[in-house]
Symmetry: C2
Subunit: 189 residues, 2 copies
DNA sequence: CGGTCTCTTGACGGAGTTCAAAGCTAGTGG
DNA sequence: CCACTAGCTTTGAACTCCGTCAAGAGACCG
């Protein structure tokens, strides 16, 4: 829980009563490898803050293939915002890639917290704006670079992360086939 | 300016003094066709709310080709958030596709407004969260559908918009070549 | 009308997919 | 702690979607 409080305080100030309220309203959860936090068809009732470990958010396309949209790693929030905001059934799965510790932000308690702690409204505004910047950048990468270039670039940016997740998940995230990624790595391309 | 006030009030309540402050701090701007609001290398000092018309945000790739990342249409905000937040030079151009009326939100005045009107913090938090939902959906589309499918889908969703922008811009936004889009339309694919 | 944008068409090539099969690795239960 | 099996990675061949290039035909604006 300290991890989240620290993260929040990188952007806004929290009083002691604010922190007490957060401790009261939020809960920590240990996820086992392959445990699901959300499945297709369910409504996404929570936003998850990853303290340690790795989550993936993916959907299954019409050919039955898993397509990863996001990874959630240390100090990131992960959520199907469409489902969360509109309270609609989700198209996605959220699953722990490895054993993962998350902090659960329940939608049910959202309004209470935001009313009590206006700073949290600001925290999420700033955070969402940064997420938007990242999403814009992501779309740019997808258009600008070939699959090969995307892998090389990703590998350069997150060398340690590449080691930790299965290659086929990385391929899925990068929008290329696992076979092709294997060939890139072998230098056969 | 009413357009923006109305849009804000769809999400949060504004008092009369709040509105007065917004009238004072924001300014309206008429953009001519092809007028630039931002160019590559400049710092993005403003967020633009499109009242009427159409903006495009694009970059020029290493082959000198314009790649459109976003369109901004009625009641949407458009901004290079990366440049805006970090006050870094932008990689993008923002240009009016047609004559366009925008409301300019200057970063310089951001803190003043947000401190005076906490509801605006909430407004942008909600809005950014919706933008994130849209960005997630966009990435899903890019992975899930072929160029042909993306066009057909877009055409179905925004039939009127498709009529209004040049085809080569639409092709760029959809991530396909103008030639290929032409062939899709001709049914030669 | 003249020139600059914009759209169309066809031929060719290449990046990446799909399928199939085999080799490797690691987790789990006996 | 070993063996077995499911999960993961590698390889190659055939194929496909779509980009690139080039050239021409409209269309719009001054």
């Amino acid at each position: 829980m300290e991890a989240l409080i620290n993260h929040i305080q990188r952007f806004v100030k929290l009083s002691e009563p604010d922190k007490d309220l957060l401790y009261e309203m939020l809960r920590s959860k240990e996820c086992k490898r392959r445990e699901f936090l959300l499945k297709e068809g369910q409504i996404c009732h929570s936003n998850y803050f990853v303290v340690k470990g790795c989550l993936r958010m993916y959907y299954v396309n019409d050919k039955g293939v898993e397509q990863i949209v996001y990874f959630g790693i240390d100090n990131w929030w992960l959520c199907d915002y469409r489902s969360y905001d509109m309270q609609q059934p989700s198209q996605y799965y959220i699953q722990a890639v490895a054993a993962t510790e998350v902090i659960v932000w329940d939608k049910q308690k959202e309004e209470i917290i935001l009313q009590q702690i206006p700073a949290m409204e600001r925290y999420f505004r700033i955070l969402m704006q940064r997420n938007m910047a990242a999403a814009q950048q992501r779309i740019k990468y997808i258009n600008e670079f070939s699959g090969t270039e995307r892998y090389l670039h990703f590998n350069e940016m997150f060398p340690d992360f590449v080691q930790k997740v299965p290659q086929y998940m990385l391929a899925s995230y990068l929008g290329i086939s696992a076979e092709f990624l294997s060939k890139i790595r072998a230098g056969k391309v």
